[in-house]
Symmetry: C2
Subunit: 472 residues, 2 copies
């Protein structure tokens, strides 16, 4: 495919008739002044309006989230990069939650970048394609892309040295909540949790009405002074008519604006319950090689929608590079999530991350933890975390219909088996253990947890402490 982001999506000649957006475009002009107020690795106090190097720095790039810099609901090796960087460079990436329109007052209004992305009137959408489906929604009639993939991904970042067979190391240097731009909610950030039809619970509900979808809006402190989030209110999804006139009886297409006149807000829910925050990126990964337009929902060997809350500040991810330039994108930012992401989503909350990207060339990997890496690997200060999936590379394993069949075939049991195989390989290749040693060690010292059961390709992660190997 070609870069569809330019097709039918609001350009400068669009009808984005709001003052905030004009302010946003103007801010590009003064970006140079902005950069002086940030630390070398931090997030600018005010965003750059266009991707590029941060003025005053040589190797720190910035990618704002705008209708020009996001690809919504899919990965593609054919996307034009939002920015090109070199190995070792830093890049700060704004990520918008695709659930922001569940409460536009709190998550879109006054935020020029979000408004450009979520813009939708009778004539046009800020970003038309949402998902990897057809642009003419002949399958389900939901909208362009058919919502076959839902995450607003910012990028991709092209890393010049990266070639297939290399490993891209992505150090997560900083993660910050995106402040609410609506003056009514100054100092706060907000997120949405959707207990949706794709959740593990959905066909198991006890109370009426069965098979309901419920949105819970959470708030957190955008300054990081509080380490917890709390619920604000919830509401049951009602059929929502989008600006094009399509009725969405369920949450079947991302970014549909919820008309709050049609829903019943229940305030005071989860009263006095404090959710520890775990800010992280549900989606972080590279473009795969196997297909050209890939649904953003199922995670795969180049990462993507892993939905592991450990992929936050201080962690490092390693991905096998599948296409030239690696093409790193970030999306699906979360304020918090539990292992399993049971109801289908986390606290979906816009975040901005700063990353350092380092290319590990193929011929330098022998004997390291990265030798033969064919899955997304997480390193924290104390642990290695390996990601197993029901299908390690579903695009290759399931053939031409992989992108639909993956939703029918997943199980935790399969993901457990994949995580076992990967951990065995890691211990044998990286630590030089025999198979017998590796298997015994896995049974007595490796913890297997359920990453998620809602993303088509289900996940089990295996955690091993680095300190095991410090005795020598």
């Amino acid at each position: 495919m070609t870069d569809e982001r330019s097709e039918g999506q609001g350009g400068d000649d669009g009808k984005a008739a709001n003052g905030a957006r004009r302010e946003f475009l103007k801010s590009a002009i003064t970006a140079g002044a902005v950069a002086t107020s940030m630390g070398a690795l931090g997030v600018p106090d005010r965003a750059l309006a266009q991707p590029g190097v941060i003025p005053g720095t040589k190797n720190h790039y910035y990618v704002p989230a705008t209708d020009k810099t996001v690809h919504w609901g899919y990965f593609s090796k054919s996307l034009k990069p939002a920015v090109e960087v070199s190995s070792g460079d830093f890049v700060t990436i704004e990520v918008l939650t695709h659930h922001a329109n569940d409460d536009a007052e709190r998550m879109v209004k006054g935020d020029a970048g979000a408004e450009s992305v979520f813009y939708w009137d009778k004539q046009r959408k800020g970003v038309d394609r949402r998902g990897a489906g057809p642009m003419q929604p002949t399958l389900f009639g939901r909208g362009a892309g058919e919502g076959l993939g839902v995450h607003i991904c910012t990028g991709p970042v092209h890393v010049k040295e990266a070639q297939p067979g290399d490993v891209l190391e992505v150090r997560i240097v900083d993660v910050r909540p995106r402040a609410c731009a609506n003056p009514a909610y100054q100092g706060k950030s907000f997120g949405s949790n959707a207990a949706a039809w794709w959740g593990f619970h959905y066909k198991e509900l006890l109370t009426e009405p069965k098979q309901r979808e419920v949105i819970t809006i959470y708030e957190l402190d955008c300054m990081g002074e509080r380490n917890w989030a709390q619920a604000v209110y919830n509401f049951r999804w009602t059929p929502q008519t989008d600006p094009y006139g399509v009725v969405h009886k369920t949450i079947d297409y991302p970014g549909v604006p919820v008309d709050h006149k049609t829903v019943q807000e229940n305030h005071g829910v989860l009263k006095n319950v404090r959710i520890p925050i775990r800010p992280h990126f549900g989606v972080l990964g590279l473009a795969p090689a196997e297909a050209d337009l890939v649904d953003s929902i199922p995670p795969n060997y180049v990462g993507g929608n892993i939905d592991n809350w450990r992929i936050g500040k201080g962690a490092t991810m390693y991905y096998p590079v599948a296409v030239p330039g690696a093409l790193l994108s970030a999306g699906d930012s979360h304020a918090s999530q539990g292992d399993s992401e049971l109801c289908g989503t986390a606290i979906e909350c816009s975040l901005t991350g700063t990353f350092q990207v380092i290319v590990r060339k193929k011929d330098t990997l022998a004997g390291s933890a990265l030798a033969g890496l064919n899955y997304p690997l997480l390193e924290t200060q104390d642990e290695w975390v390996l990601h197993g999936f029901s299908y390690a590379n579903y695009l290759a394993e399931l053939g031409a219909k992989a992108q639909s069949e993956i939703y029918e075939k997943s199980s935790v049991d399969l993901a457990m088996k994949d995580a076992f195989r990967k951990m065995r390989h890691f211990l044998m290749s990286t630590k030089g253990l025999s198979e017998d040693e590796a298997i015994s060690l896995m049974s007595v010292a490796v913890d297997f947890g359920i990453t998620q059961v809602v993303d088509g390709n289900w996940g089990v992660h295996a955690v091993i402490k680095k300190s095991l190997f410090n005795g020598g």
Copy 2:
């Protein structure tokens, strides 16, 4: 059934022709002097030889592990209690690992209690029945009980006030490794990890010979000065001929003495790898009501072989009482285990635990975390941990052939569903949440992990932090 422990098992008139055993019996006489050297909740420096109240205390009982106090491989509501206690009393229970004969030099020799249990010559076994199978091994020819159940369980402890419908609270006050009694290994404790045919890895081996079983012997410091274990050596299982002449090609019957002249010990394995210890009881639970002779391997609603490493010192377990007196037993002690217990076992290591047992009467539970409890619930200082299984009560759900069919039907997916249902019930009943609140909270703040995939009835645990509810 009647108490089969008296049938054909070595009594005082047995042929236990070793000096250590005679010493052991003599020690009962001087037990009064022993007790003075222990703290109120601690473990006596030397064990009592027979169950009973510890001299000098009023409410602290002691149950040594001997051929008279263990039931091997099964739970039964018909067992004669090893000791009767009252609600609020303390009981110290010795637990022997059923893998001690993998290296009798290190885990049996010189240990009078272990020698009485593992005693086996051409004429008799210290404990004949091992498992819930027939005493005449007409099914597989393995031995009495057929090894349909493997854990050496000490008990049961009858708690006078406990009646069906009540909850038994079991506080784990102390857990200590059992010191090696062989002077050659003074100051150490040992454990065995068997990568066995029932392991998750078994049909997936990469290297030859396929479908091998491997024993790894670990050592740890019995004084608790080191918080880690390390491997000593491993060996591949070879056909072992038991003293009755039965050849065990695989690890198919517990307590078969391994003849080390027939195996190749590989020393120096897992060199410099330190396994953090997590001393705990793989088996801790009550007699179920549904059947009279129940295989000790599949965990169920009254606990048993849950194999969660969090069931250690400082933790509290709550069990629904199914039969009068509750009948608490402990077994399958582990020095450490990872979530999943992948290869079939942990570091199987004899431990001694001190427990306080408290009966929570049925009519006092309303509105508490224990209301309607129908599964084993774990409380730690910071967390509640709920245990899901592939089948919540497989004895009731799977009918007459439940004890064999459970081994064919388990999956992590089913256990995940059960854990979800239990956590929803817990949040709704204990915390007063609506179903919508409970489901959102589970997705954003509850972690689901894989307890074990090797015990017939597979397990998923759900962990929720107590601090979530401290905000009010």
